[in-house]
């Protein structure tokens, strides 16, 4: 009888050890999957937007006393690339200092004409359109830019400026 109990306990401990080993295996497989997923994500990111072609565009609103944006369109070399419609909440966020990432584009190294058109209303409620066209040079490094909508006190108006980060 005692022998049977001992064998039973031994078998149970064997099963327990096996369970622990399986759990460990499962954990290591899970970790491997997570690592693989991370590698895949990084690979996708590098494939879709490598540093040599990465161009990121942002927009900010400085005060916004003379201009409220309603929509924005960005084109590169005459090709419409990015568009966005603003809601009241988003304009409030911009007024409070938010930096809006307009989007990332892939640009080949070299010169490109970048045009930004912002439609909105001025402080009198009249429709206004601000635009800027700049020739930017893309090098092998990422191009990170910011369009600033700034008040132009002298003319009680606003204008767009381009800033490189």
């Amino acid at each position: 009888m005692r022998l049977l109990v001992l064998v039973g306990v031994f078998m149970a401990s064997l099963v327990h050890a096996e369970d622990a080993a399986i759990r460990e295996d499962v954990m290591s497989v899970k970790n491997a999957v997570l690592d693989l997923n991370r590698d895949l994500y990084e690979l996708e990111r590098q494939l879709l937007s490598p540093a040599t072609t990465r161009a990121a565009f942002h927009i900010t609103l400085n005060h916004g006393e003379y201009f409220e944006p309603l929509s924005v369109e960005l084109s590169v070399d005459g090709q419409a690339e990015i568009q966005h419609l603003y809601t009241e909440r988003q304009v409030k966020a911009l007024r409070m200092g938010a930096v809006q990432p307009l989007g990332d584009l892939n640009l080949a190294p070299g010169k490109h004409d970048v045009t930004l058109i912002v439609r909105g209303v001025d402080h009198l409620g009249q429709g206004r359109e601000l635009s800027i066209t700049e020739s930017v040079t893309k090098t092998s490094k990422p191009l990170i830019t910011e369009f600033l909508i700034v008040d132009y006190e002298e003319l009680q108006s606003a204008r767009v400026e381009l800033k490189y980060w």
Binding site: L40, L43, E44, L47, L48, L70, S71, Q83, H84, L85, Y86, T87, E88, R89, V91
Partner: protein, 174 residues
């Protein structure tokens, strides 16, 4: 072509194709909306102020009125506007969606009049217009009333009253 580069090419194709599948699935879902469905998000410019985004209306009841042909048809919409305004205290919003045709001009309303233009990729158009959609606070379509807005006003009013009171009861019981 090496195994690694072939594998990378396959991954790239799969990744890019997923975008087109998602985009077309969104359009199809919008075209075939029925009560109980989640309403796909959109942002549209307004003819009378800021653009509106559906996701930002979450937490409120929304009466979304898709207009048929409308050239300054404000008079036809006044009753709907009053209905939405009278329910504002109950947390209901009302938006009109207008699609310009030819030289048509938008209605002049106090409520937002959204203008559909296919150039804005963030928007979609409901085909079965005119129609009234009652979208609950979770963004789900609770009621869909299609057909002439003038003929359907009474029905819309009754459904809205019932819908709002049921929603209020539900919130109180939670």
């Amino acid at each position: 072509m090496g195994i690694v580069s072939r594998w990378m090419a396959v991954m790239l194709v799969l990744f890019l194709s997923s975008f087109s599948v998602i985009a077309s699935a969104g359009d199809e879902r919008a075209a075939a909306l029925k009560p109980g469905d989640m309403v796909p998000d959109f942002t549209m410019p307004a003819t009378n102020g800021f653009g509106q985004r559906l996701a930002e209306a979450r937490g409120s009841f929304l009466m979304l009125i898709w207009l048929g042909r409308c050239d300054e048809c404000s008079e036809r919409l006044v009753r709907y506007q009053l209905l939405a305004e009278s329910m504002a205290l109950e947390g209901m919003k009302g938006w009109f969606v207008w699609t310009p045709r030819g030289d048509d001009r938008p209605p002049k309303m106090r409520l937002p009049v959204l203008e559909y233009d296919q150039k804005w990729r963030q928007s979609w158009l409901f085909e079965d217009r005119p129609a009234v959609m009652l979208i609950n606070a979770d963004g789900r379509l609770d009621h869909l009333i299609t057909g002439d807005l003038k003929d359907n006003y009474k029905e819309t009013e009754q459904v809205v009253m019932r819908w709002i009171s049921q929603g209020r009861d539900y919130q109180l019981s939670e």
